[in-house]
């Protein structure tokens, strides 16, 4: 093996994949921002952004250019290093979790055995951007916001962790590809349906966890109705009050990338990932990545609707929901799921399933060859 093949080509290949993923992701984020504003406007019987480009489609790019060209202002009493590090942490961490998300069968920059744990670890770090930004601004509102968000994100991580454990029990593996494979037979197949369908996905047997995960994902990404860290009626713009220009843009971007990540995670854990809703002719001709994006969009639409129609929570109610409602329910569901799996001998075998899929793929290759 030459030097090029061993040390140059693989990193280059990985960089190429990452750049492709980043570009697609950032364009998706631009349009998700636009969709968010349009949905919010439609619910309030407004038009929303409609000036830049046809139907306002280029609004996000106009915003981007505006942010980049403005003058960054660093407050005189701010802790300069941490002040500039915070938005970088927020942006980079949110993007890095996407490295392990498989958007179609085999389409992931990396597919490690502990992918789910990796995503959980990264998403638990996103709080640092907010805490550091709030502290380094050396101002009251950002500081209060960072305290709020630290408590909020740590609280909701607990229930997200338990939801992940339940899914993990039903899958038997922390690999995200295995999580999707595990959803090829479930309730629908055991009811005797001949083909794999949306009834096999985890949302049906784990329905309470699906709801808890969805709500916790909204709380974890500081979206309304849980946007206490930046509640504009109380804290101006929360941790971003002192930020301007590109640092602000990075915070904003990190927040929305985290939202797309949570949508992707909901799709992977509960909605069958890239699997078609019904595995018959017109549906399974569509490439998996299209289904993945469509499902992600659906989850995002639900989040945007929640944001539009639900009033903001009060802080003590938010804490009550996290610790006194979600924690007991999700803890109980972990026990119930484990009990059912043991009692009815339903323990999953991810390796056998993966082997079956790889064999099927080989057969398909042979047929096409």
């Amino acid at each position: 093996m030459t030097f090029f093949e061993q040390y140059v080509a693989p990193p280059l290949w990985m960089v190429g994949q990452s750049v492709l993923l980043l570009v697609v992701l950032l364009v998706v984020v631009a349009y998700i921002l636009y969709a968010d504003r349009k949905i919010f406007a439609a619910v309030q019987l407004r038009r929303g952004p409609n000036v830049v480009g046809p139907w306002g489609l280029l609004q996000s790019f106009a915003d981007l250019i505006k942010f980049v060209l403005k003058e960054p202002i660093i407050p005189a009493s701010a802790n300069k290093g941490v002040f500039l590090l915070a938005p970088l942490v927020a942006g980079v961490l949110a993007l890095s979790a996407w490295a392990v998300i498989p958007v179609a069968d085999g389409w992931a920059v990396a597919d490690p055995n502990l992918g789910l744990l990796f995503v959980f670890a990264i998403s638990s770090l996103e709080v640092y951007g907010i805490i550091m930004g709030g502290w380094a601004s050396n101002s009251k509102y950002p500081f209060l916001a960072s305290l709020r968000s630290a408590a909020q994100m740590v609280s909701y991580e607990v229930s997200i962790g338990f939801v992940i454990i339940t899914v993990l029990l039903c899958v038997g593996s922390l690999n995200l590809t295995d999580v999707v494979y595990a959803q090829t037979d479930g309730v629908g197949t055991s009811l005797g349906l001949p083909v794999n369908s949306f009834l096999d996905w985890h949302w049906l047997p784990l329905f309470p966890m699906f709801i808890i995960f969805f709500i916790s994902a909204i709380a974890e990404t500081n979206r309304p109705p849980f946007d206490l860290p930046e509640a504009e009626s109380e804290l101006v713009a929360g941790h971003m009050t002192e930020y301007s220009s590109t640092p602000f843009l990075l915070f904003f971007l990190g927040e929305f990338v985290a939202i797309t990540l949570m949508c992707a995670l909901t799709v992977l854990l509960f909605m069958g990932g890239w699997l078609p809703p019904i595995d018959i002719a017109p549906f399974n001709w569509v490439p998996g990545v299209v289904w993945f994006v469509l499902k992600g969009m659906f989850v995002f639409f639900c989040m945007a609707m929640v944001r539009s129609i639900v009033p903001r929570y009060r802080y003590d109610q938010l804490m009550r929901l996290g610790w006194k409602v979600f924690l007991p329910i999700s803890l109980a569901m972990v026990f119930i799921t484990a009990f059912i799996l043991m009692a009815f001998d339903l323990m999953p075998d991810p390796e056998a399933k993966r082997a079956a899929f790889e064999q099927a793929a080989v057969v398909v290759l042979k047929v096409t060859a």
């Binding site: 055995n113 638990s124 502290w135 630290a150 994100m153």
Partner: protein
């Protein structure tokens, strides 16, 4: 091997340097941030040895939860650190003794391994081969099968500590009205009396 060694020295250097900065930096918040950097590089070292589960758990538990609370507390503390630092030399001898004891112990453990490689094989639970058993399975076998009672005992101690902390800090304030969500939800709209209030008169 070359790449792995390169990464080892990278992680190890940053880890030691940031650990030093934890005690050397003047600002306590900077100390905690360096501590986090140190945790990250330790996780990287775990990753290099193939203990990926430990690496990620280190990040989830220590960086994602414990260090957040550290940062939380340190940010809110209003302590005059210059004053604390004045008495630093006074504690120097005790600190040095403890440091030396720890260092000697580490050298004994690790040095013993390199003098006699068979010590590792004679451990109560030898580390299984990565090719045979995955990380999670190996840890699970030990914690949840072999040492389940000790594990449960640890959990019980933590539970007692947690309840103790809550009991110590719990204070009931009788003069505060609390929201009772069950009562609110259970209220029947038919029992509510509606009255029209004229402006400026009140009920």
């Amino acid at each position: 091997m070359g790449v792995a060694a390169l990464f080892f020295y990278l992680f190890a250097t940053i880890c030691v340097a940031s650990a030093f900065m934890v005690i050397a930096s003047r600002n306590p918040v900077h100390s905690v941030l360096f501590l986090i950097l140190c945790f990250f590089n330790a996780a990287g070292l775990f990753m290099l040895t193939g203990a990926e589960f430990l690496a990620l758990i280190l990040i989830v538990v220590y960086v994602g939860a414990v260090a957040v609370l550290f940062l939380f507390v340190v940010m809110m503390l209003d302590v005059d650190f210059a004053e604390l630092r004045d008495g630093f030399l006074q504690y120097m001898p005790i600190g040095a003794v403890i440091g030396i004891i720890l260092a000697v112990e580490l050298i004994l453990v690790l040095g013993g391994l390199s003098f006699d490689p068979e010590i590792a094989a004679r451990a109560v639970q030898p580390i299984p081969d990565l090719a045979e058993v995955s990380n999670i399975q190996a840890i699970g076998d030990l914690l949840y099968t072999k040492y389940i009672f000790f594990f449960q005992l640890c959990g019980l101690i933590l539970l007692v500590a947690m309840i103790g902390a809550i009991v110590l800090t719990l204070s009931h304030r009788p003069d505060v009205r609390r929201q009772n969500i069950a009562d609110q939800v259970a209220r029947d709209p038919n029992d509510v009396e509606l009255r029209s209030v004229k402006p400026g008169e009140g009920i």
